[in-house]
């Protein structure tokens, strides 16, 4: 326990009591800005090319540029009948009476035009003819089939279902028929299982699962865990981050630190950091095929009640625990700085932390048992700093 640990950090926001007469926004203040999106696309490209090195002035300029890219709710995104509306937009139809009437006057052809407006604060994304707006403050999960997510059970209903909180606007359903029943993959479920439902999965349990189906405009979500990589989560801790910080990828399960740490980045912003028993023969590098192989041989024993047990692995030592905490903090640092969380970034922050530790002097560096670095990292200043270093580092690499 080092003596220079700060017991309490307080960030003070001192409001130098606003004088009413100062700071007044004049009625005639010209805050008008034009948000012309149809034309700004090309300019953007040019700007990016120009901004290869960044000075302070240009930083500000870039900020302005960015602000101009943000669309606020109610803004007209595009006015044309050729496009389709996507997420976070709504449309109105406008009847146009074309004024280029010929002399006989009967070619007054009414034409319809589609106006696409934004209904959220975000940036434009255009995929072919599909116009949608990407949320800046995404905090609700919108399910898509095949998403790898983590849910928490909040209710065991009588109708052979569990209700799970998956960070969406409704609860998702996990049916008894869509989980692996103990005692074999291909067993039919019986009444005994219904009675045992509460023993298998309890309220509060965290479940690693996949979205099986989405019905009724995204509000009836069915989940399943019918694969050995899914199921109840153990040996670790959960971090919830904001939705927007995780992107859909091919794989969401990552291994770190010689495969001793497993991190599941759930698509819904739930992240599970846990200890992973090292595979029996750790020779192979190809994790995918290896795990499948072992899976098949272990099916019989693993699909016993054990997969639903509540007992953690007793062999997690302090070193691993520190590692888990460290990765939890890494994720928090990334989230704190609004940085998208992915495997590569987690690794680079890990590197940064190691060096940060060394740089900050006075700190005894026994990397094997470095609890000290953990409480250092609770300081928001440090978190911000690491985030900054990361971004700088990425910019250097391009």
């Amino acid at each position: 326990m080092s003596s220079n640990t700060k017991i309490l950090t307080v960030i003070k926001h001192i409001d130098n009591n606003v004088n009413i007469t100062d700071n007044l926004k004049n009625f005639n203040a010209n805050v008008n800005e034009d948000y012309d999106f149809s034309s700004s696309d090309e300019e953007d490209v040019n700007m990016e090319e120009k901004d290869s090195d960044i000075s302070d002035d240009e930083d500000e300029l870039e900020n302005k540029k960015l602000i101009n890219q943000i669309i606020s709710p109610g803004d007209l995104v595009i006015k044309s009948s050729e496009y389709m509306k996507g997420h976070n937009t709504y449309t109105t139809q406008e009847h146009f009476e074309k004024s280029n009437t010929t002399e006989d006057g009967n070619t007054k052809s009414g034409e319809e035009e589609l106006n696409i407006y934004s209904s959220t604060l975000g940036v434009l994304s255009k995929i072919n003819k599909l116009i949608s707006v990407t949320n800046i403050n995404k905090n609700l999960y919108q399910a898509e089939i095949g998403d790898h997510i983590i849910g928490q059970i909040v209710e065991v209903t009588s109708a052979k279902k569990w209700k799970l909180n998956i960070n969406g606007n409704n609860l998702a359903t996990l049916q008894l028929s869509s989980i692996n029943l103990p005692g074999g993959l291909l067993r039919r479920k019986n009444e005994q299982d219904e009675l045992n439902m509460k023993q298998l999965l309890k309220v509060g349990d965290l479940i690693n699962c996949e979205v099986q189906g989405v019905h009724a405009s995204g509000n009836d979500i069915n989940l399943h865990t019918r694969s050995l990589k899914y199921g109840k989560l153990r040996n670790g801790a959960l971090v919830k981050v904001k939705m927007g910080l995780i992107q859909r990828k091919k794989t969401h399960t990552h291994f770190f630190n010689n495969n001793s740490i497993k991190i599941i980045l759930g698509c819904n912003g739930f992240i599970w950091v846990s200890y992973e028993r090292a595979p029996i023969d750790s020779v192979t590098k190809d994790k995918g095929s290896e795990s499948i192989k072992t899976d098949i041989t272990r099916i019989e024993q693993d699909t016993s009640f054990e997969i639903y047990s509540d007992i953690n692995d007793p062999n997690i030592d302090l070193k691993t625990r520190i590692l888990i905490s460290k990765y939890v903090i890494i994720i928090k640092i990334l989230a704190f700085n609004n940085l998208v969380i992915n495997e590569q970034r987690i690794n680079s922050v890990y590197e940064l932390i190691l060096s940060y530790n060394r740089n900050s002097g006075g700190m005894p560096n026994n990397s094997g048992n470095s609890k000290d670095v953990l409480f250092l990292l609770n300081d928001p200043e440090v978190m911000k700093d690491i985030g900054y270093q990361l971004v700088q580092g990425e910019k250097m690499r391009g």
């Binding site: 109610g74 709504y90 449309t91 109105t92 139809q93 106006n115 407006y117």
Partner: protein, 319 residues
């Protein structure tokens, strides 16, 4: 109001189509036509009013009973010189099967309308509260108006405001004398009742809005375009009331004063329309005011058949 009343989709469409063609389900020919209003004052009582809205065929659409009662209470600490005034609006099972019998939540329309009328009378000083003071800080009159709905087919707000004002105009409270802080209440036989100080007569009018387009289109309407986004309907029936999407309530008095102007959410309408309707409301309200005064006048004459014989006043021509 009557939230459980389910209107079938076809009926809904039918009513809306009718409205779009300036027709009403009860046979009225215009969206702005109001139903006939009848004011009945119960003889031999003060401040006991029955109001009826009659359909074209003569049947009663809405019937309301307004009743004023007074009692002596302790005034509020902040206002020791003023009497108090309450309105109690309740729907009960008599108004129809869809009305809950017990106290409904504070978020209900009835609550809101009741509050509107209460503040319409209080905030504009329509009722002189200082006149209701008996002993400052100790005893004041509490005037309460109870509005009972006996039959309901829309038009609650207007009728309730008319009813309250008529009842207040008509009511007489017992006279009191104060001697050494002792208050004696005189029955009407001993001393004639005292009229309440009604300083002006605000009447509320409700313009109901029916959207002609999707919400998105109305919100995004171009300012300059002369598009008609909505229908404005006066004096809705219950079913129309349930289908409306927004309202605009104005309370005026004859002196060209707005006492209240309310548009609580709903679909937005253009500012110029609000101005237009505000002006349109004035003649309607003038007419209603005259109706109230006439009804009270007739009742007055009935009560005092011989007053004019006893009066020493010269006849004057009063318009």
């Amino acid at each position: 109001m009557a939230k459980d009343l389910v209107i079938t989709n076809t009926e809904r469409q039918f009513i809306l189509d009718l409205l779009a063609n300036s027709q009403r389900l009860d046979g009225r020919k215009s969206l702005l036509q109001q139903r006939d209003l009848n004011i009945n004052i119960t003889p031999n009582r003060y401040g006991d009013i029955y109001l009826e809205l009659k359909r074209d065929d003569g049947s009663i659409a809405t019937r309301l009973h307004c009743k004023v009662t007074a009692e002596i209470v302790k005034p509020k600490d902040q206002r020791p010189f003023e009497g108090t005034f309450y309105i109690n609006c309740e729907f009960n099972g008599l108004a129809g099967l869809n009305f809950e019998n017990y106290k409904v939540g504070n978020n209900s329309d009835e609550f809101y309308y009741g509050r509107l009328i209460e503040s319409m009378i209080l905030r504009s000083n329509a009722l002189d509260l200082e006149q209701l003071c008996i002993v400052a800080g100790l005893k004041v009159w509490n005037i309460r108006v109870d509005v009972h709905v006996l039959e309901f087919d829309g038009g609650f707000l207007e009728l309730a405001s008319i009813g309250c004002m008529t009842a207040l105009l008509h009511y007489r409270r017992p006279d009191v004398t104060v001697r050494n802080e002792k208050v004696t209440i005189h029955s009407f036989d001993e001393k004639e009742g005292v009229k309440l100080g009604v300083l002006h007569i605000p009447i509320a009018l409700q313009f109901n809005l029916f959207p002609l387009k999707e919400a998105a289109e109305i919100i995004k309407t171009n300012t300059s375009s002369e598009n008609n986004n909505e229908l404005v309907v006066l004096d809705c029936t219950l079913k129309e009331d349930l289908l409306k999407d927004g309202e605009f309530i104005i309370a005026l008095n004859k002196n060209r004063e707005i006492v209240q102007l309310n548009k609580p959410g709903g679909i937005p309408i253009s500012a110029s329309k609000i101005v237009e309707f505000s002006h349109m409301a004035l003649p309607i309200i003038e007419e209603t005011t005259n109706k109230i005064l006439k009804a009270i006048d007739i009742d007055e004459k009935k009560r005092n058949k011989y007053a004019h014989l006893l009066s020493a006043e010269n006849d004057r021509y009063v318009e």
